[in-house]
Subunit: 169 residues, 2 copies
DNA sequence: AAACCGCGTCAACATGGCTGACCTAAAAGC
DNA sequence: GCTTTTAGGTCAGCCATGTTGACGCGGTTT
């Protein structure tokens, strides 16, 4: 009887714990995107533009299909925002040397500036959270977050250097 | 000179660390929503329906304005999905006893079943991550995630029992 | 009685996903 | 060298979910 009660209690705690995790993710993600969204809206861009800017900044000379693999959207969706970014001079495309079908993407100076501006609030938010929580907690955060990913995404974080999904280049 | 180098290195590490945090959040959120999204699509619902179902399940007898405060969307947006959920018998509305202007929301049995089904994969994903990472890491995860929230959201997690933002009821 | 509040609704619009079809040019395979 | 595959672009249309703004009804508060 005592055992049964303990079991039920365990279950309840676990349920609470899991819900907390779900909600933390929901709220954190929302807060995380809110500030850049405002900046973006002012220049008639959306979250999609931010993602493209971010990953092009992260992986200079990334190809379109590599970018698609990261974002997991269709090329039609990407092309809309990417096209705008290119036309408005935030991103440069240069034809691949080895493979001339590829368009290697890179931020222009203007693009770098926008990226910096957009990510600044996010960086601050994370830095604040890391600082408040302490180094050990950060390690735990990373472990748990990694555990939530599928193998494919997880692999992006394990290799020695920051690497994009490598296809032949 | 050695100092300077160390400083630069510190900066680089910090930058890497922060980017990792940003990306973990991006990928984790995407994975987290992917599975429910599939189930939802099959019954012609979207992520917005899930959120409503989730929070109504979480806070039975929640009022419309409390729900709006949690979701931070306009009532017009909410009303679209909430209306469908009510019409299709996933959510019941009952007029508030104290304040008859209020519509207290509750999941029907059908709603509970859908909620369970939708959240199941998410619960499993979190449970797996928690288990893989260990109790201490989970504590760290929570600390960091809390640090990312604004005070308002953070307050939702600190009180003794799970509480919704309390207005007069 | 007046003002405010909770909730619903109509209309119009933007963003960012999607599918499907079709094209060019370059690379790879045989 | 011809064929097939690949990288990338483009047109057209659809859908979900967010937005603003305006207005109405009934219940509560002052």
């Amino acid at each position: 009887m005592a055992d049964l009660k303990a079991g039920v209690n365990q279950l309840f705690l676990r349920e609470e714990e899991l819900r907390t995790g779900m909600e933390l993710l929901f709220y954190a993600y929302r807060e995380f995107t809110a500030e850049p969204d405002e900046i973006l809206a002012a220049i008639d861009f959306g979250r999609a533009h931010h993602r493209v800017i971010y990953f092009v900044g992260r992986y200079p000379k990334i190809t379109v299909s590599e970018l698609l693999a990261i974002l997991k959207i269709t090329k039609q969706s990407l092309s809309r925002v990417l096209g705008e970014l290119v036309r408005q001079g935030f991103i440069d495309q240069q034809t691949g040397a080895r493979d001339r079908r590829q368009r290697l993407l890179e931020l222009t100076e203007k693009g770098v500036e926008l990226e910096r501006q957009l990510s600044e609030t996010q960086r601050q938010r994370i830095a604040r959270a890391y600082k408040m929580a302490g180094a050990e907690a950060v390690e735990g955060f990373r472990k748990v977050m990694m555990g939530m990913l599928d193998d494919e995404d997880r692999a992006k974080f394990t290799p020695p250097a920051p690497t994009r999904p490598v296809t032949k280049r």
